[in-house]
Structures are given as structure tokens and as C-alpha cells.
């Protein structure tokens, strides 16, 4: 297994895809087998990713490791090239961790799906999403990335449209068309990139393109194509409106997959593609992007406060959080970008926990409306406790990794865009409001009539959410574990855009803290 030639990434991507086919072919009537098989496959993927992480050379985290290269369409410079750096590794870990969680949490949700949709199909689609996402994060060829970027929409479309709530087809179509619109712009840019780049058999490799000097005007246009696609995916204000619909209509497991992992493609794309491929254009667009991000932070939080639907509320908090993530990326400081990368992880976990718990609440109550709950804490204290923990993580309470990431983003931004950082800091007050208001309305107060019969979390539900919370806490206490992997990759990104950290006005004279 330690063979350096072993195609780790291909295998990690292929296992869930093969598993997906296997799960789909489980005959009707054997739903349990399909579920077990799906969870088993996702755990195998997790084990593989852990093995990958163990072998990952942290000192060289800035460079791509476990690289694979095969020609695909050499005439157009397209190749099948995989590799991970620190940032991609973090996201791979996110995918691998959240998939089994989602599958476990969706155990019984799908049987209640309307119509005669097969349980097998749902689990197979989830595995398909996982497999494609692995490819998205591991691709080092722009064209391959694009293909997978679009491909992942298909299983997700069916997850939302096939297994979602009452408005599912509206939400699914909106999600698909919105994303495809971005994808179209990106396709144009991908082609343009090849034309403007050096071309040749490896003309789509990131390594080829990152060094290419493209003239500024072209760069800007190409950048816009990529950026809008990523901004839709992320989603940045004001391109966010598909998210609340899609996330609230999708089944909870699917919503986690969508918001927790799939949307990270957007922010991952910004840091891994937009910046290194179009350094000048990124710096050119920076002020506008920063403004959008800050607006998103405040706007998302304010709108979240006003939501009446549990799932939509969580979706809008994500809009706010994605604002933070993109802000950190475009602040172009090591703190900002490392914070953003860590934020992707934290946001994935905390949103996952929130969505899953909200899903469990909704499944018990049969409604997603906040007003339909009340006093859940009395009848289901564990559920309420975990919900509070997830919420606290979402509002970036110290001790959770989201706090570290949010703080790093703000600290990184302040040096470059002081006003933006100050305004964004107001987001932490609003975050407290939206989480605590929903906690107060749902969990505290007198026990509502319809809530009285609630049973607390089943062991399966507990074990699907508890690990996520535990990870959030662990990374909150010792974030350096993740930052060690992220930092070199972030430094490389910053080098590519030729941006250094702002220097402090009055550098402290004492030696670096590590000496003590």
C-alpha cells in the first residue's frame, strides 16, 4: 500500500462510483442491504483518505502530491491529471468525513419519500456525488476539473428533485439552471484559457497554466468567467437565491452534501483556480469582490434572522459564512486564506450538524416552520444540546474551529481592507442573533403540544452527528493540526498572486512566540 506509484486518488474517486453502481443494482426489497453497502463504501473511502493523509508529506504541502498523469485528449491538451496539495487534502477529508455522516443520517428519511422512489437510488446518488467531488478536488487539469464540476450537478439534481420536499422540482431546476449558467461562463473561460495559454499536450494542466503570462485584458475576461461560476456555486451575494430553495427542499442528507461539501467547490475554485491562474485579474477584481463578500456577510445574517423556515435559515447563515470564506481568500493574506480554508472545513461540519439536526427535528414534527416548535429542550435534551453546540459553532464561539477560522479571516482582512473587516466583524453579533433566536424559539419556552411526543435522538442519529461536533471541538482547540497542512499551500497561492502579508506598523521586538 505504500507503493508510491499506487494511484491513490483514482482509487479514492473510483471506489464510491463503483459502490454507487453496486448500491443501485441492489434489488427492490433489500433496502437495508443497500444502506449498509453504501455506508460501508463511504467508510472505505474514509479509511483510504485517512491513509492518504497519513502518507501526506506536510513539509511539502505546497506542492501536489500523489500525482497521476495520463493523456486524455492530447490534441486539445486535455489530460487526466490528479494530485492534492494541502488545501485539496483538507477538502478531500471534508468529503470523506461528511459522506458517511450524511448516509447514516439519511437512514430513514428516504423511505418516507413520496412516490415509489427507490432507497437504493438515493444512496447510490449520494455515493456518486462523493466520487465526483473527490475528482473535483483532486483534479489538476483545468478541463478535467470543469467536466467534473458540471458532472456533479447531475446526481445532486436528482437527489433534490427526486427525494426533496414539496417544492422539490422548482428547487432542483433552479439549482441546476443557475449552476449550469455559471458552468457555461466557465466553459467559455476554460476554452479561452487554453487558447490564451501555451497550449500543447499538457495545455490544460494547472502547472502549465499557472506560469503562463496572459495579457491583462484577456485575464480579466477569463477570470470573470471562472469567478462568476464559483460565485454562483459558493454562493456569493447576490447570486445566492438558489441556495435557500435547494437546501430547504433537499432531504437533509442531500442538503448537507450540497451546502456542506458541494458548495465548497466555489470557494475552493476561487483559491485554487482563480487566484493562481489569473493573478493580475484577481488583484484587479479584489475590491469589488471584497465588497460583495462583506455585503453577503451582513445581508445573509440579517435575512437569516427573518426566516420562518428552519432549513432556509441555515441556508442563509451559509450565505453569510461563504461571504467570510471568500473575504479571506480575496484579502490575499496568509491569515485570511488559511482561515478561509479552515473555514471551509468548519463550515462544512457545523452546517452539516445543523442541517442534520434540523432534519431530525423536521422529521419528528413533520414541519420545518420554526413557529411549529417550542420547548424541545425539555423532551429531547440531547437533540437540543447538540443543536446548541452546532449553532454555537456556527456563530463562531471560541473553542470551535469556526471561531479560529473566522478570526483568522478577519485578522487577515483587517491589514488589507480595514473597513471591510470592521463591517464584517458586525456579522458576529448578527450570528449570535440568528442562532440564539432560533434556539430560543425551537428549544426553550413551554413545550408545544405537537412537540410533546418527541423522542430523543436514536443512537444512529446521535452517532451520525456527535463525531462532527467532536471534530469541530478538536479543531477548535488545536487548529494548528489542520493549519500545518494548509499553510504551505496557501503560501504558494499567495506567491502566485505575488501578494505578501502587510507588515505590522510597530513589529514587536521580542522573538517569535515559538521560541518560548
Amino acid at each position: 500500500m505504500t507503493d508510491p506509484e499506487f494511484p491513490w486518488l483514482s482509487v479514492i474517486g473510483a471506489v464510491p462510483l463503483v459502490g454507487s453502481v453496486a448500491v443501485a443494482s441492489v434489488p427492490r426489497g433489500r433496502e437495508l442491504l443497500a444502506k449498509q453497502l453504501a455506508v460501508g463504501v463511504s467508510l472505505v473511502v474514509l479509511a483510504l483518505v485517512v491513509a492518504l493523509g497519513v502518507q501526506f508529506d506536510t513539509d511539502e504541502a505546497g506542492a501536489f502530491q500523489f500525482t497521476e498523469y495520463h493523456k486524455w485528449v492530447p490534441e486539445f491538451g486535455v489530460s487526466y491529471a490528479l494530485g492534492v496539495d494541502g488545501i485539496a487534502l483538507v477538502l478531500l477529508a471534508l468529503v470523506a468525513l461528511l459522506t458517511p455522516v450524511c448516509l447514516l443520517a439519511s437512514w430513514n428519511d428516504i423511505t418516507e419519500a413520496p412516490g415509489a422512489r427507490r432507497v437504493q437510488t438515493f444512496f447510490a446518488l449520494m455515493l456518486a456525488v462523493e466520487g465526483i467531488l473527490v475528482g473535483v478536488f483532486a483534479a489538476t487539469d483545468v478541463f478535467l476539473f470543469y467536466v467534473l464540476f458540471e458532472a456533479v450537478l447531475i446526481p445532486m439534481y436528482f437527489i433534490i428533485g427526486g427525494f426533496g420536499g414539496a417544492q422539490r422540482s422548482y428547487a432542483a431546476v433552479k439549482f441546476l439552471i443557475y449552476s449550469l449558467l455559471g458552468g457555461l461562463l466557465m466553459l467559455a473561460s476554460v476554452i479561452g484559457l487554453y487558447v490564451a495559454g501555451p497550449g500543447g499536450e499538457t495545455g490544460f494542466l494547472r502547472s502549465t497554466l499557472e506560469g503562463a503570462s496572459i495579457d491583462p485584458t484577456t485575464q480579466r475576461w477569463l477570470f470573470l468567467g471562472f469567478f462568476i461560476a464559483f460565485a454562483i456555486k459558493a454562493p456569493l451575494w447576490p447570486l445566492h437565491t438558489w441556495l435557500p430553495d435547494a437546501a430547504s427542499e433537499a432531504p437533509p442528507g442531500g442538503a448537507v452534501m450540497l451546502v456542506g461539501v458541494l458548495d465548497k467547490i466555489g470557494t475552493f475554485g476561487m483559491i485554487a483556480y482563480c487566484l493562481p491562474l489569473f493573478p493580475d485579474a484577481s488583484v484587479w477584481a479584489r475590491p469589488v469582490v471584497v465588497v460583495l463578500c462583506v455585503v453577503g456577510v451582513i445581508y445573509g445574517a440579517l435575512v437569516a434572522i427573518g426566516q420562518a423556515d428552519l432549513m432556509r435559515l441555515i441556508a442563509y447563515t451559509s450565505v453569510s459564512h461563504f461571504g467570510f470564506i471568500a473575504l479571506g481568500i480575496f484579502a490575499m493574506t496568509s491569515q485570511g486564506q488559511a482561515g478561509s480554508t479552515l473555514y471551509m472545513l468548519s463550515h462544512g461540519f457545523s452546517t452539516a450538524a445543523l442541517f442534520l439536526l434540523a432534519g431530525m427535528l423536521a422529521a419528528r414534527r413533520g414541519s420545518r416552520r420554526i413557529a411549529d416548535f417550542g420547548g424541545v429542550q425539555r423532551v429531547a435534551p440531547v437533540l437540543a444540546g447538540l443543536f446548541l453546540m452546532a449553532g454555537l459553532s456556527s456563530l463562531a464561539l471560541p473553542g470551535f474551529s469556526s471561531f479560529v477560522s473566522e478570526f483568522l479571516v478577519l485578522a487577515g482582512t483587517y491589514g488589507r481592507y480595514t473597513v471591510a473587516a470592521i463591517v464584517a466583524t458586525l456579522g458576529i453579533v448578527l450570528a449570535a442573533l440568528y442562532i440564539l433566536i432560533v434556539y430560543q424559539r425551537v428549544m426553550t419556552g413551554p413545550v408545544a403540544k405537537a412537540v410533546e411526543g418527541f423522542r430523543d435522538l436514536r443512537p444512529r442519529e446521535l452517532w451520525s452527528v456527535a463525531p462532527v461536533i467532536a471534530l469541530l471541538l478538536a479543531l477548535g482547540v488545536a487548529p494548528q493540526l489542520a493549519l500545518d497542512v494548509i499553510n504551505p499551500a496557501v503560501d504558494r497561492t499567495l506567491q502566485s498572486v505575488n501578494q505578501g502579508d502587510p507588515q505590522p506598523d510597530v513589529p514587536a521586538t521580542a522573538e517569535q512566540g515559538s521560541g518560548r
Binding site: K174, I177, Y178, P238, T241, W242, Y299, L302, V303, I305, G306, Q307, S334, Q335, G339, Q377, R378, L392, L397, P398, G399, V404, F407, L408, L410, A411, Y414, G415, A421, T425, L426, I428, V429, A432, L436, I437, Q440, M443, T444, G445, P446, V477, A478, P479, Q480, L483, V490, D501, P502, P504, D505, V506, P507, A508, T509, A510, Q512, G513, S514, R516
Partner: protein
């Protein structure tokens, strides 16, 4: 103003804050016990219900023991070697941003550690009795342990970032405990209000730390304080004001004071520990700890003093009209912390005094709250003082301990409060100039009002005729509750004297907060005069209250009262103000944004879709289904192509 601290550090930093070794290595244990306690109780669930309260108390007591050991060890060392730092692990290392999870145990933190673990343990013990009948007692102790751990982290952190972690940790514990009886919607709202108000303060904290980072490239005390001298005054003022904002949130100072009264929704031990003795004083700690920054930013310092003075009066005035015993005490807490903040705003001269008052206040206010808890416990959780009266015979122990606490807070000679409050007023006058006079007079006035409202509380509760509800059968609390009250009462009586004896506390704190007596302000009034004046004012206040409430009948239902009374009863309209200025517009903004998002942003998206759909609906009509129409357009196309080809050829 002298600034003895930073240059020394810059020159010989390692000597000043030594790496922990020997006994000081145990610092981490202080935190480990309560964290472990909280973790076991929270994760263990119902299984730990039987022994949860004992385990929680044990964890706190163990911490206290460790604190005592550490204290003895520290006291045994030379003054220069007392401060130690124990680095646990590196939390963050990104670019220049480097944060170690490290515990700095110096004289200042030591004082706090002893207060927190000591008073904390007493309150744990008290709670065993107080919460005996609550089905969720285990959870309560888990939260208490969590609070102790977070508070210890707050005072032990060697880095503003670590302090921030503890800072939010205590906020969380406070939130959980205020909302402990969250089935009452008002309590849950109070909890949320406290957390949000604290969060506003946290914005200040965040920005202050970030500003330190961008200015100095560091956030730990040692390096920041050492480099502070090199920064511009504007920056330092900004940092100072941001830290003040943080302190206002946590310590319920103007303008973020409104949450403290509502926070009394929590169980009374919580009010005693968190909302009187420890957490709410964190702001004072922060300001004192950041002394080197404030010393270089006189504007910020002045604002601190003004905020303190304003809150002092504000709280006291509210205290005058409150009929709820806990709310009256909460108002008093606000006011007393105003004293501390005022002192902290007076520069190095005031830091030690602020801490002094903080410590004594911790004892007597905790004692008062526990007494109030005992009364409520006896009176079926009634808090309305108009339904009390004449309890001194029913509850002698409570009466005595509460009475001692009362005497301490109004500054009865030789009791704890006398020493510390007197010092503050004295220091304020000492400042000289218009500021000094104003602050001094305000502080003096505050002492008088304090005497008035505390006497009112005392008289209405323990003296006069019995105005009890029908079903009230007051009885003395069990020993597990009275014992802590007695201990705290002893502290209220003697602590001040001990600490003041020969300037003991000031000497102890001097290496951290700077010198005291030598500080020569303008001698305006000699200490004796100030003391006498204070006593006079206090006596006047107390006498007035006695005349008002001791001699006359206290109506069971509150009379309408003058406009001033109504205003004070309504917390001087602070909630109304917040509601009108923040909440209503906020709700309106939120609602309109939701509308705008649905109709505007999403409307644009859906509108675009509808436009495309509509256009294609029109275009669809071209598909008549008539083959010949299609053939026509095909021929047209062919003609166009031929024509185009011809054109190109020409």
C-alpha cells in the same frame, strides 16, 4: 504618568515572566479539573445524576486546592520570579500570526484565580442545597464547572486571543445558566439578551486583538505591552476604546448594561458567582491587564473613568426603585463595577484599587446574593421585597450574614467595603483638576445612594412587619447553604482589612500593575477628609432610607410613584431605548431585507427566468405544426445561404 512596565520588559523580558517550572507546572491543573468535571457531567448524561453535584463541587474544590498550592509557591519566591508562563501547545501559527495556548500565572491572575476558585467552590457547595430539588441539578453543576474553567482561562491566558477564548467561554456559561430555566420564555429571552449584549462587546474584543495584530504583529501580553510604546497614540486609543467596549459588554457598563438586570433570571447561585463576583468583573480585569496600553492612551483612559462613573450613578439610581431583591442587587453590582471601572480608568494609581474593590466586592456581593437566594428559597422563590419584612427572626443566620454583607457594601468602617471603596473615592479626588473633582464627587454621591438603596433592601427584607404571602413559611436554609454564606460573610468583614493592611494587596500587585502611593497627583483633599466625607454621606443615605422604609408602612403593592421612580423602576428606560433604537429598526430592516431578497434578488432571478420563458412562449407560436410553414423557412434559409455564398464569392 509614569510607565514603569514596558521598558523593563523590553530589556529583560524572560526575567519578568519566567517559563513555568517546578510547582508552577501545575498551572494547567487549575483548568483541567473543572473541564474534566464539566465533560464528565455533560457527556455522562443521566448516569451521573446521582453524584453529579458532588463531582462538580469536587472539581472546583480541587482547583481551589491547586490554586492555594500555587499561591503559596508564588509567595515563596522573589518578587521578580513570581510571574510564570506555562506554554501548553501552539494553537495557531499562520504567517506572522502566532498564538500559543499558554497560561500566565502572575500576581494579578493569582488574585483572580483564588477569588474564582474560592468563591466558586463556596457557591458550588451552596448550590448543592439550593438546587437540591431541581431535576436538572447535574446539568447545573456541569455548567458551573464549565464557567469556572472558562473564567480561569480568561484570567490565566497569556495572550489576548486566549483571553478571548475564556471571555466567550464565560459568556456561554452565563448564557446557559441564565437560561437554565428556559421553559419560562422570559428567562430564555434574558439569556439571549445577555449573550447578544456580550457579543456586541466581543466585536470590540475581536477588533482590538486584530488591531494589535496588525499593529504589533503579536497578540500576547508580553510582546504587545513591550511594543506599545512604539505605536501612535491614535492606534493605542483605538485599541483602548475597543477593549473598553469589550469590558462594557462583559461588565454591564454603559451603554451595554441592560442585560444584567434580566440576567437575574438565572438561579441565584449563578447570580452570585457569575453576575456578581467573577464574570462581570472580567472587564475590570481586562482594563487592568491592558494597563500598559491605557497608560499610553490618556483619552481612552478618561473615557474608561467616565463610563465607570456614569454607570456607577446609573446603577445606583436603578437600585433605588427596584422591588425585586435580585434586581436591586444586580443594579448594585452594576454600580459597584462602575466604581471598579472608574478606578481602573484612573491609571496605575487606580489599578490596584480597582482589583482591591473587585476582590472585596466579590465576597460581599456573593454573600448578599447567597443571602437573597436563601430568602427566596424560604419564601417560595418570591423575589418581591414588598412581600418580605420581618425575616430577621425567621432566618437569623441569613439575617446576620446578609447584614454583614450589607454593612460591607455601604462601607461601614473597618469592614471590607470601607477600605476598598474609600480608596477609590480617594484616588478619584487625588486625580485633581476638573476630572478629579467631578469623578470624586460622583463617586462620593454614589456611595450615598448605595447606602440608601442597600438600607432599603435590608429594611424591607428583614425589618418591619411581615408582609408575607399566605402560603409562606420561612425557615432557615440547611447548613450546606448557610456555611458558604457564613464564610463569605467572614470575608466581607475581614478581607478588606487584611488586604489593606500596610498596602498588602498593592504591594503584591505592583509588579504587574505598577506603583501606587508614590503617584503624586494634586493633593486636593487629604485622605482623612475624604474618609470622613464618605462616612457622612453614607450615614446620610442610610438614615434617609431608614426614615423612608423603616419608619413608614411599606405598601405591598408598589405605589405609582414619581416620574423619577417610574423611570428608575424601568431601568431608566434602557430597554425601551434599545428597543426603539436597535430592535425595532433591526426587525424592520430584517423584514424588509427578507422581502427584498424574495422579491428583489430572487425576483430578479425568477424574473429573468420568466422573461426567457415568456419569450420562448412567444417564439413557440412559430411552431405552427404546418409542414409547409417549416418548408418555407427551410427554403428561406437555403436562399439565404446561397445568397451569402454568392456575396462572399463576389
Amino acid at each position: 504618568m509614569s510607565f514603569p512596565y514596558a521598558p523593563v520588559l523590553a530589556a529583560a523580558e524572560p526575567a519578568s515572566v519566567a517559563q513555568a517550572s517546578g510547582t508552577a507546572d501545575l498551572t494547567w491543573l487549575l483548568l483541567a479539573f473543572p473541564i474534566a468535571g464539566a465533560a464528565v457531567l455533560l457527556l455522562g448524561g443521566r448516569r451521573t445524576d446521582r453524584f453529579g453535584h458532588l463531582l462538580g463541587t469536587l472539581a472546583s474544590a480541587a482547583s481551589f486546592v491547586v490554586a492555594l498550592v500555587l499561591w503559596l509557591d508564588m509567595a515563596g519566591r522573589d518578587v521578580e520570579e513570581r510571574a510564570t508562563i506555562q506554554k501548553l501547545w501552539t494553537a495557531i501559527d499562520v504567517g506572522r500570526f502566532h498564538v500559543d495556548i499558554a497560561l500566565q500565572l502572575d500576581q494579578l491572575s493569582m488574585a483572580f484565580v483564588l477569588l474564582i476558585t474560592g468563591v466558586g467552590t463556596l457557591i458550588h457547595i451552596y448550590s448543592i442545597g439550593y438546587m437540591a430539588h431541581d431535576p436538572d441539578r447535574r446539568r447545573f453543576f456541569a455548567y458551573l464547572n464549565l464557567f469556572v474553567a472558562a473564567m480561569l482561562l480568561l484570567v490565566l491566558g497569556s495572550d489576548y486571543f486566549v483571553v478571548y477564548i475564556g471571555w466567550e467561554g464565560v459568556g456561554l456559561a452565563s448564557y446557559l445558566l441564565i437560561g437554565f430555566w428556559g421553559r419560562n420564555p422570559a428567562y430564555a429571552t434574558a439569556a439571549k439578551k445577555a449573550f447578544v449584549a456580550n457579543r456586541v462587546g466581543d466585536v470590540g474584543m475581536s477588533l482590538a486583538i486584530i488591531l494589535m495584530f496588525t499593529t504589533f504583529g503579536a497578540t500576547d501580553f508580553v510582546r504587545v505591552h513591550a511594543a506599545a510604546a512604539g505605536a501612535g497614540e491614535g492606534t493605542l486609543t483605538a485599541i483602548g476604546l475597543l477593549l473598553l467596549l469589550a469590558a462594557c459588554g462583559k461588565s454591564a457598563q454603559l451603554p451595554l448594561q441592560s442585560w444584567l438586570g434580566d440576567a437575574m433570571a438565572g438561579p441565584t447561585p449563578v447570580s452570585a458567582l457569575i453576575h456578581a463576583a467573577t464574570m462581570v468583573t472580567a472587564g475590570v480585569y481586562l482594563i487592568v491587564r491592558s494597563g500598559p496600553i491605557f497608560d499610553l492612551a490618556p483619552t481612552a483612559q478618561l473615557v474608561v473613568a467616565i463610563v465607570g462613573a456614569a454607570t456607577l450613578v446609573f446603577g445606583a439610581v436603578i437600585g433605588l426603585a427596584k422591588d425585586d431583591i435580585k434586581k436591586a442587587l444586580a443594579a448594585s453590582t452594576m454600580s459597584q463595577i462602575g466604581y471598579m471601572v472608574l478606578a481602573a480608568g484612573l491609571g496605575p494609581a487606580g489599578y490596584a484599587v480597582a482589583i482591591f474593590h473587585l476582590l472585596t466586592h466579590g465576597f460581599f456581593k456573593a454573600g448578599l446574593f447567597l443571602g437573597a437566594g436563601s430568602v427566596m428559597h424560604a419564601m417560595n422563590d418570591t423575589t418581591d421585597m414588598r412581600r418580605f419584612g420581618g425575616l430577621r427572626t425567621a432566618m437569623p443566620v441569613t439575617f446576620v450574614t446578609f447584614g454583614l454583607g450589607y454593612l460591607a457594601i455601604i462601607g461601614f468602617p473597618l469592614l471590607s467595603g470601607f477600605w476598598s471603596k474609600d480608596k477609590i473615592i480617594e484616588t478619584a479626588f487625588h486625580e485633581g483638576g476638573v476630572e478629579g473633582w467631578t469623578l470624586g464627587v460622583v463617586a462620593l454621591l454614589g456611595a450615598g445612594i448605595t447606602a440608601f438603596y442597600m438600607t432599603r433592601v435590608m429594611v424591607m427584607t428583614f425589618f418591619g412587619p411581615r408582609r408575607w404571602a399566605e402560603d409562606a413559611h420561612p425557615h432557615e436554609a440547611p447548613a450546606v447553604m448557610t456555611a458558604p454564606m457564613v464564610l463569605l460573610a467572614l470575608g466581607s468583614v475581614f478581607l478588606g482589612g487584611i488586604l489593606a493592611y500596610g498596602g498588602m494587596l498593592q504591594d503584591w500587585l505592583e509588579p504587574v500593575v505598577g506603583g501606587h502611593g508614590e503617584e503624586e497627583g494634586v493633593t486636593t483633599l487629604s485622605p482623612i477628609v475624604v474618609t470622613l466625607l464618605t462616612l457622612l454621606v453614607v450615614a446620610g443615605g442610610a438614615a434617609a432610607a431608614y426614615l423612608q422604609y423603616g419608619r413608614r408602612e411599606v405598601p405591598v403593592v408598589a405605589p405609582v410613584g414619581s416620574p423619577a421612580t417610574i423611570a428608575a423602576r424601568n431601568d431608566l428606560y434602557q430597554d425601551a431605548f434599545n428597543e426603539a433604537v436597535l430592535m425595532r429598526p433591526g426587525q424592520y430592516l430584517t423584514r424588509s431585507l427578507v422581502y427584498a431578497d424574495n422579491r428583489g434578488v430572487d425576483g430578479a432571478v425568477n424574473g429573468l427566468a420568466a422573461l426567457i420563458g415568456g419569450t420562448s412562449g412567444r417564439l413557440r407560436r412559430l411552431q405552427t405544426g404546418f409542414v409547409r410553414s417549416y418548408a418555407l423557412s427551410m427554403l428561406g434559409g437555403a436562399a439565404l445561404v446561397v445568397g451569402a455564398l454568392l456575396l462572399v464569392r463576389i
